[in-house]
Amino acid sequence: MTLRLDDLAPDFEAQTTHGPIRVHQWIGESWAVLFSHPKNYTPVCTTELGYTACIKHEFERRAVKIIGLSVDPAAQHAGWARDIAATQGVAPNYPLIGDVDLAVAKLYDMLPASASGDSGAPRCCRQSDCCAMSS
């Protein structure tokens, strides 16, 4: 499925670090940014999630909610959040979706052509040096 501008954003239910949500209901009357990252502990995304937490107030003053997504279980995001806090200075202060079966990634066409579609697909390995470089 290819999503295009002005398409209805597919609704879905998911587990997040802030509890279960149904995304349309969660968005409510706000705007929303749904951003994906390939896997917990990937260094580029570690910088992105930390920076997003730093500027969350900029989204809030524009009535924009932010929510992240990766294939890791929501319960395992906590350990990564500690890494983000340690290297970026701030932990994610917004929900992260645990998309363990790639249901949302497939629904929103977020997988690269090279991905096999299963959660065991190769992704960036954890490189703490890279995270530290960007802190």
Binding site: L5, A9, H24, I27, W31, V44, R123
Partner: protein, 94 residues
């Protein structure tokens, strides 16, 4: 990016090896929100407070009534009308 109407407003796709530019994400929000409620568009690299473009769906007569103080000089493509900065000041911008 998803609007309050639950429709897709923006899709940005980056490879894993390139981090996003969140200044651009916020800049797009600054454009998406006023252009959703006003019949205007924002030009290249637009920032809040800068001139906006009256949407091409607005007729010349409508534009002159709605924005009497605008610069109605047609640009290259005839229907494109540039407004004065006071128009963008009316918008909810940040």
């Amino acid at each position: 990016m998803i609007g309050p109407d639950k429709k897709i407003k923006l899709i940005l796709v980056y490879p894993m090896t390139t981090g996003r530019n969140f200044d651009e994400v916020l800049r797009v929000v600054n454009s998406l929100q006023p252009t959703a409620t006003h019949r205007v568009a924002t030009p290249v690299n637009w920032r809040p407070g800068e001139d906006v473009i009256i949407a091409i769906s607005v007729t010349d007569d409508e534009a002159r009534r709605a924005y009497p103080n605008a610069d109605h000089t047609s640009m290259l493509f005839g229907d494109v009308k540039k407004s004065v900065s006071e128009v963008s000041e009316e918008l909810k911008v940040f």
